[in-house]
Amino acid sequence: MASQWKELTQYRSLGISLARRDFKVRYAQTKLGTLWALIQPLLSMAVLFLVFQRALQADTQSIPFLSYTLSGLIFWGFFNYNLSQGAASLIQARTMLQKIYFPRILLVLSKSLVASVDLIFVLILFVFVAFADAHFTLFSLGSFVAALLMSFFASQGLALWFAALSLRFRDLQQIIPFFAQMLFFLSPIAYSPELWHTALNEKFQILLYLNPMMGILEIWRAGIFELGFSANINGISVSIAFSLALFLSGWIYFQKVERKMADLL
């Protein structure tokens, strides 16, 4: 582990270069360019507003719908980008993997840098939209950092697993978009997690917290909207523990198969 760490620091320029490449290439030759980083969440918001607010009248814990949903999209966007881009990163870089050696894990990890830039855009948007509803305190900053770390560990953990396994089982590449969509609906982005309390038996509720987004959003909203923890500490602990377990196990598995990767492509 120590020698790996040393190698990663030697190659840190590569992580940054890969992220720059992804960022520049993504909006290359588009007319609106980086504005898309704002347009996408705005469009999502519009649809979510129609479905969850107008049609379903979902509860949002007494917070105005737009502020509430946007607070969720900040982390969902980050989580989703890491998961889907990270999971596909090895297969996309297949010629590089067959021709050049470098720590492969950087392909996956560097996606977080790109996702962070998006996150900052949405965060700025959020500050404007939720100016009246949010509480910008030290506590909310703490909850932001905690939620960000958890999002990083959980999404990277999943991405590492998917990326490494999908070299052997290409079918996984088909599952990833579907898996991400499933997580989106299971995550209380545009609705209150309290809805689950009435909808599900208590025994099953704890299982819901295996979805890291449950814990992430509760921690973050507890801070920014001063909501307090609506659910139990148990659930959140499950989310935290599971996120860390995903990351650690994903990292270890990834390292284990790293040297065989070129042969599997």
Binding site: S13, L18, V25, F102
Partner: protein
């Protein structure tokens, strides 16, 4: 000499379809001194590229170990990791960092890299708009400025125009001689191997066949190819035509000094020997020259008395491009064909100016060099 690299008992097994296994490399022991240029030669599929992949850590060996003294960088294919949408400048940073350089050291060498590639005017243009020549020059240039102690190079010189080829060769020479860095160089181009390497290792079907001075090993290797392509002894071949009154016993190509290294523009000696079982007044020899693709190039004829049993053809200034060629041989006794051997004798032509005729090299269909001049 201090060692830069030690390869100890490296083997690599691949699984082909189901339970069948195949040893791509079998117990290779090899080392590389500091500042040494080691050439790897061998037929396609012999395991050269697998060995480079193991050395560069792209794939792991099944058995054995490698000791590396210093920093190693590989140049298995120039331009890998370039992104077409990014500008030349951005690609220099991206490619440099993929090859293991830090941003600071890329920055320090940036001007050198751009100068070498000669693309300074196009630095801010996306590389997808580069001509293929510019692209390759830039890609090689980044790789040629790596600050590694050991450089692994696989067939990169098959690209670029003639001037740039020379620059690359000079650069490689400079890397090994002036900067005392070591190079492992894989190529099918015997001319390049011969002029660039200090030592050559021949890999044959996954095994290390021989190592030694470039001249010797190349000759052995080409000799081996000859055996592979035609029976070692023309006398024993059964795939012949003619009425059998005469049989070729020996057909051999050599340079004037007796070696198998035949160079473009220098002499070639072909010796023929045969035995005949019938009396004849007159013998006629007919030789046809083809390139490795089987394209006809020229013919040679000779008439001699019926009691002769050998002859020698001399071509003082062989006007062939570098590449592989062969002769078909016929012998006629009193006007009736007595023996014919197809692909009777293979030989390889090396050229010191092996990239001079770039267009011809790219066709991989070696032909003749015609002296010429232009007026305009």
């Amino acid at each position: 000499m201090k060692k830069a690299l030690e390869i100890q008992g490296i083997s690599k097994q691949y699984r082909i379809a189901g339970k069948e296994h195949f040893w791509a490399l079998d117990n290779i022991d090899l080392d590389l001194g500091q500042g040494e240029v080691l050439g790897l030669i061998g037929a396609n599929g012999a395991g050269k590229s697998t060995l480079l992949k193991i050395l560069s850590r792209i794939t792991a060996p099944t058995k054995g170990q490698i000791k590396v003294y210093g920093k190693m960088a590989s140049l298995l294919e120039v331009g890998t990791g370039f992104h077409p949408e990014l500008s030349g400048r951005e690609n220099i940073y991206l490619n440099g960092s993929i090859l293991g350089m830090s941003r600071a050291s890329i920055k320090a060498r940036f001007d050198e890299i751009v100068d070498f590639a000669g693309v300074s005017r196009f630095l801010d243009m996306p590389v997808k708009r580069y001509s293929s020549g510019m692209f390759v020059r830039l890609a090689f240039s980044v790789a040629a400025h790596l600050d590694s102690d050991i450089l692994l190079i696989d067939e990169v010189l098959a690209v670029g125009d003639a001037d740039f080829q020379k620059k690359c060769l000079a650069r490689m020479e400079d890397i090994s001689k002036a900067q005392a860095r070591s190079i492992v160089f894989v190529s099918h181009n015997m001319g390049a191997i011969n002029s660039l390497c200090d030592r050559v290792a021949w890999i044959n079907q996954g095994k290390l066949q021989a190592t030694g001075a470039p001249n010797e090993i190349i000759e052995q290797y080409l000799g081996g190819l000859e055996q592979l392509n035609a029976d070692s002894n023309p006398a024993e071949r059964s795939d012949r035509e003619g009425d059998g009154r005469a049989r070729f016993q020996q057909i051999e190509v050599k340079a004037k000094d007796g070696s198998k290294l035949i160079k473009s523009g220098e002499s070639l000696e072909l010796s023929l020997a045969w035995e005949s079982s019938a009396q004849a007044k007159e013998i006629r020899l007919e030789l046809h020259l083809f390139n490795s693709r089987g394209n006809y190039l020229s013919s040679f004829q000779h008439q001699l008395k019926g009691d002769q049993q050998k002859a020698q053809l001399s071509i003082p200034e062989l006007p062939l491009m570098s590449g592989r060629f062969f002769f078909n041989a016929h012998i006629y006794l009193d006007g009736i064909r007595a023996d014919f051997l197809g692909r009777a004798c293979y030989f390889e032509v090396l050229s010191d100016e092996w990239q001079q005729n770039e267009v011809a090299v790219q066709r991989q269909n070696p032909g003749v060099e015609i002296k010429n001049s232009w007026q305009s």
